[in-house]
Assembly symmetry: C2
Homo-oligomer: 490 residues x 2
């Protein structure tokens, strides 16, 4: 498979697109901008969901589900929000079709026009805060820590599988608190969860930071983010956590009776990650041979392929393979024993390689005699022969090692591609080449927009861990207290 697959060097964008399709992750659908998430891709998304869901629940969050539709008028209630979200969206205007006059199809029934149009949710702050008004009366009802797994729609003009699609899947957390401090603490707690997930599960190093005023969420006081660097030197925003202040509580009139018996507006946060993470995961580790998956998010950890010439050999190998499978599964390792007779071993090898299965075992007649198995690592493409004795612990160790190796490799890549720059000429040259560029900025939106106009670079984050260091803005020469991270971005 995948003979006509370009290398990253040849055409990075095409490499990504072909990889997504050929590794059975996703494809474009008959509906403009909407993707079909294929079984292998969806299985990875389920692993992502499962782990994040566990982390949210461990920190006291509960799941709920709010309507797909939002009445049009809700958007106008928060001024910044409507600017950011109510424009490019799918609008439901009718609720019935009827047979067409020629009897060959169906047409919209003009008699079934909605009094108020419904918007397919691009994000759910408005409908959720409209609901919270009835859920929150006193401090006893707080904090309210709710998350929703859902589909959302933003009518994007230029779409790319996983990275930017009209419909995408995500989780959106919406929490309500008594005090500003508590809401800020929640915002940062979630940012930490996102960063931990990215680094420990996705094997993807990220910077935690604050967005500039220009890049923040429409309706937020502060937007925090995790930013990662892809192999082509472009940045990818992998998750955001917003401190919303009392903006939505005011817009939807959500007040609570405080412990001091005063009516006060509720403090809010919202936060989300989406199927965009799939794009980050794919681009972070994959190579010219196809997908590379960190073991912690691989739906299958180990594929076992029998090498045989006749059915007697297959029977003998299958016995041993099933023994190994059982031993691995007892350690929590997910194993596929592929004894399909309709495909040859070489075909299976390419398939598992292309789909990013972390470890492949091959067993032939000679292995049976010697008590060995051939072990191939997807991350390094190295092969080694293992004695079968204690195979489960050896593989467990190998999987940990692969997870670790992928993280270290991605971290080294990021460090090699992070540059401190102090002159405008140097900045333009480096942005052109790619990578994270650490530079001083005067803090104004005006400067930020001019830099973007000239270089296409945006401020990805004002890093939370960045050391305070006085300097001069790369563009305006005005004083600056801290370097910020610039990059071209997805």
């Amino acid at each position: 498979m995948a003979k006509d697959f370009p290398t990253r060097e040849e055409n990075y964008a095409q490499w990504y697109n072909d990889l997504v399709i050929k590794a059975d992750l996703a494809e474009n659908s008959a509906v403009r901008g909407c993707m079909v998430i294929k079984p292998h891709g969806y299985a990875i998304w389920e692993k992502i969901q499962g782990q994040l869901d566990k982390m949210f629940k461990a920190t006291g969050h509960q799941n709920a589900y709010f309507p797909l539709f939002i009445p049009k008028s809700f958007f106008s209630k928060e001024a910044a929000h409507v600017e950011g979200f109510a424009k490019e969206c799918a609008v439901v205007t009718h609720y019935r079709l009827k047979s067409s006059e020629d009897g060959k199809g169906v047409v919209v029934d003009e008699d079934a026009k909605l009094e108020e149009e419904l918007i397919i949710r691009p994000t759910s702050e408005t409908i959720i805060w409209d609901t919270y008004r009835n859920w929150i009366q006193s401090y006893r009802d707080l904090p309210l820590l709710i998350n929703q797994w859902a589909n959302v729609v933003r009518w994007e003009m230029r779409t790319r599988l996983f990275l930017r699609t009209a419909e995408f899947l995500w989780q959106e957390g919406h929490t309500a608190h008594e005090t500003k401090e508590e809401a800020v603490e929640e915002t940062l707690k979630i940012l930490d969860i996102y960063a931990e997930f990215a680094e420990k599960w996705m094997a993807l190093p990220v910077h935690k930071g604050l967005k500039s005023a220009n890049e923040k969420f429409a309706g937020a006081v502060d937007t925090y983010c995790i930013e990662a660097l892809m192999q082509d030197g472009k940045a990818l925003q992998a998750g955001t956590s917003h401190f919303l202040g009392q903006n939505f509580a005011r817009a939807f009139d959500v007040k609570f009776l405080s412990k001091e018996n005063k009516l006060e507006y509720v403090w809010a946060t919202s936060w989300g990650v989406s199927t965009r993470l799939m794009g980050a995961l794919i681009m972070a580790h994959s190579d010219d041979h196809g997908l590379v998956l960190p073991p912690k998010l691989a739906p299958i950890h180990v594929a076992i392929v029998p090498i045989y010439k006749n059915s007697d050999q297959l029977a003998a190998i299958s016995e041993k393979a099933n023994e190994i499978k059982k031993a691995l599964e007892a350690k929590g390792i997910t194993v596929k024993y592929d004894d399909r007779t309709t495909f040859k071993p070489g075909w299976k090898f390419s398939e598992y390689e292309f789909k990013g299965i972390p470890v492949r075992l091959a067993i032939g007649p000679r292995d049976l005699e010697n008590g060995t198995v051939e072990v191939a690592r997807r991350d390094t493409l190295e092969k080694e022969t293992y004695q079968i004795t204690d195979i489960e612990n050896k593989i467990l160790h190998l999987l940990d090692h692969i997870q670790d190796n992928l993280y270290r490799k991605a971290l080294a890549f990021r460090e090699e591609n992070t540059f401190g720059v102090d002159t405008w000429e140097g900045f333009k040259a480096q942005i052109e080449k790619g990578g994270f560029v650490l530079a001083h900025w005067d803090g104004t939106t005006e400067t930020e927009l001019k830099i973007k106009e000239e270089t296409k670079a945006t401020i990805r984050a004002i890093p939370l861990s960045g050391k305070m260091e006085a300097g001069k803005c790369i563009f305006s020469g005005q004083p600056s207290e801290q370097r910020v991270i610039f990059a071209k971005a997805y």
Copy 2:
């Protein structure tokens, strides 16, 4: 809580609605016909999803995700399907809003009209079979066993929480096979999974049966179903599994090269259960004190409430309670220790009772002295004092016993409310009173519709396990080979 809660006897419909809202399961939203699924309700849905998903995967199915939107023209491709589904649905006609002229809100931008309207999926056969055309070339690509967890929209005029809502959550399986036999086998395999889930997890006895031609799915050759009886004597269809023949393969031109090297149309099934199951679960077991949940679907199995007069007592009780919690959790029991000081024990007792938590433990100072704990069962409302020794096994046993008791009670109720009837007068009288009515039917849609017109009863199922027994149609007097199940239904 729940002082103003009617009994089932007083007003069954109101009892149901109030229970759903007050037990924190769901509520109506600002959008007509769409519900908000509240945290406790959603946690139960997650338990349902988790178990079904495990059963689907254990039988070789994989999850995937297809678009929310379906191009209008797709519906017209399968004649029966368009009749059944393309009428009452949400239609997206535009993809942009703009600021209104008065600057106070947003209006639909008439320049952003879609060339072809998009329908929010009421079910996904059409978009999925359009996709399968590219996935299936030869017998090697079959069977294709795919499931999707998704939201769907059907524009219902009269809605009821969980039972009938404009938007609902569900799973829809869509499989493709080489032969008719294999597809029929799949249809029945899924029906068995649904029935097993209903009986073993929901503690809800169901009849497996075939739908009459009039009641079958629009586009199916045969629709199989599981049917349950609710406490008010009305039937509820809890799941359906459809053998689709080659109808969708023909409509979307999906052919495969067979082992005999011939191009043939693919055979199909589809099957689904939805958040409607929540309605069935609630109505099957709950009582005038609120929700009753079978332990296997309860998000929390055991609530522990401390009874104390001062903080010293609370500290001592908490120590013991946490010991018990740990011992129970080690056995896979989900426990909530509720040491909130903002609510009194009596309030907590009603809350857990109303929300259907299967077992409640209460520990006071005297219990500490005696090494005991008070154990309250939700299903029977009985209280007993247990010695704490070996508490984990006692509770494990009790939970099994409650699960079993709920099933036996529901089965006894169904048997008491199933009636064989042989005369038209007897039929009308019994249908009026409620329950499952087993009667002969001549097999024609004409008779079925007349019976429905006169009595509101429909044929719920032609039972698969029904014994063949000759008789005469209750309405027409024509010969019949088997009794079928009639009832008024949700």
